[in-house]
Amino acid sequence: MSSANTNSLIALADCNNFYASCERCFNPSLLGKAIVILSNNDGCVIARSAEAKALGIKMGVPFFEIRQLVQEYGVFAYSSNFPLYGDLSARVMHLLESHAKEIEIYSIDEAFFTLPPLDSPLTYCHAIRKQVRQCTGVPISIGLAKTKTLAKVAAAQAKKSSGAFLLETSNQEQVLRHQPIQDVWGIGRRLTKRLMGYGIHYAWDLYSCDDQWLLKRFGVCVLRTCHELRGIPSLVLESQQNPKQSIRVSRTFPKIVTTLSALLQELSFFAERACQKLRQEQEKALYIDVFIEGPYPTRKHSSLRCYLDEPSDYTPDFLAATEEAGRRLFSRQEIRKAGVTLHRFSSKEAWQQEFFSKPRDHHKQNTLMQEFDAINQKFGQGSLRFLSSGKREFPRGTRLSPRYTTSWNDLALVK
């Protein structure tokens, strides 16, 4: 392949069975064993090792349904250990970044990136795979193609073959003819149904559609996907991660909330978490938005913005503002969902201390919050919290593996 062609290649790196692979990194006794990772409350299966897939354990299945299987075959079931997965993900992404011209971190275990012109991109990808595996213990697959949508297809092929796959003119038709339309990136369940109504069952069928017909029937998004399948780049790499302007913590309640005290507790908890994230990013916020939402079908939405008297990252400031907002929003209605949003205070907005406001002891507040965060870091999220958040069960799974890379108390043991 000439280097002029490789110039435009897009790679998609995908970590194989990522959460299960992370668990294996620090627990060698899990090598070759069936592993499932459970959702926050140990409710459903959210990730599986290849061995667990082979046992027929499906994605999203409730844990109690497979309990017997788990016992019978000695499947290892773990609660999700996001501190561990997040750390290993960051390491993998960092390594990929060192090879990439441009990179778009698409999810915790996937990244699109472009490679510099190479004589043999496939060989290079195998070298990247080897390096990531050796340095982090995480196995990855890489798909290479001319567009993001094709790179996704190629990555799926890579998983089935040697771990890296180059989709090019010579093998494109054969691969797309066998690629079910519902597995094409950007084609959801509803679109699949409609496309199938017109006899479009495989990626190749979409590839062969008439542009005008597609545009009229399905709109510009599906046309774009079609072009991508033809190798015409229509989706760019979103590499410049514009720093998120806001931090939102919200939740749909498992049970409808009907009392003010229950609402205030939930809101206080959200504000607490949002402030923690704010401090992690070493940011401050000047105001907080609080919203509540009623049950279906009307989903009546109301929200309020509360300003502080100066930009802050001190949780009690926001707890007071949140409580006030909650009191004003609540009028004995049923609440299905609620949340808070903090907006980052940009240093570009000039800020002048109000002349009559009380000077604050920033040092004391900073120390308090640092200690607060440090204790939660050391003993696990929610170990120390504000009374206004009430007593609450933390979604801490009972089958949690140690936080091998983020807690000194949890380091893996070596004999």
């Binding site: 060698p28 960092h94 390096q131 982090t136 043991l413 070596v414």
Partner: protein, 127 residues
């Protein structure tokens, strides 16, 4: 972890500190111990098989997974589903050997040895 420069004066009034023109980063032990942050991990020692090499139970090992293990390196190897720390001995004609630094332990010979990483440092706190 980020290190921030040490600012010696915060007051706007009065004389500036003469040291402010010579600000340097405070030393960070992490930078000294770790060459490849993406590939470096900490493990805790739970045993005395390497005490002759100055590795004691409770110590924290700095392990670099990006390095190719060489003869006489102290390595982390996988042994029967567990991590073990030993000295690696590679000789041209014999099988690779994992050698303890404690006469109460036996040397382990292994055909297809799986090395997890190379130990590049030991951290011990006395207080």
């Amino acid at each position: 972890m980020k290190t921030r420069p040490l600012l010696l004066h915060t007051v706007n009034a009065g004389f500036p500190s003469p040291a402010d023109d010579f600000i340097e980063m405070q030393l960070n032990i992490h930078d000294h111990l770790i060459t490849h942050p993406c590939a470096s991990f900490f493990l805790r020692v739970g045993g005395d098989s390497m005490k002759g090499a100055g590795i004691f139970s409770g110590d924290i090992l700095v392990v670099d997974r990006s390095l190719q293990a060489q003869n006489r390196d102290i390595v982390i190897a996988l042994l029967e589903g567990e991590f073990t720390v030993k000295q690696l001995q590679l000789t041209p004609k014999e099988k690779p050997r994992l050698v303890p630094a404690n006469r109460h332990y036996q040397t382990i010979e292994c055909e297809d040895l799986e090395i997890w990483g190379v130990v590049t440092g030991v951290v011990r706190k006395y207080k």
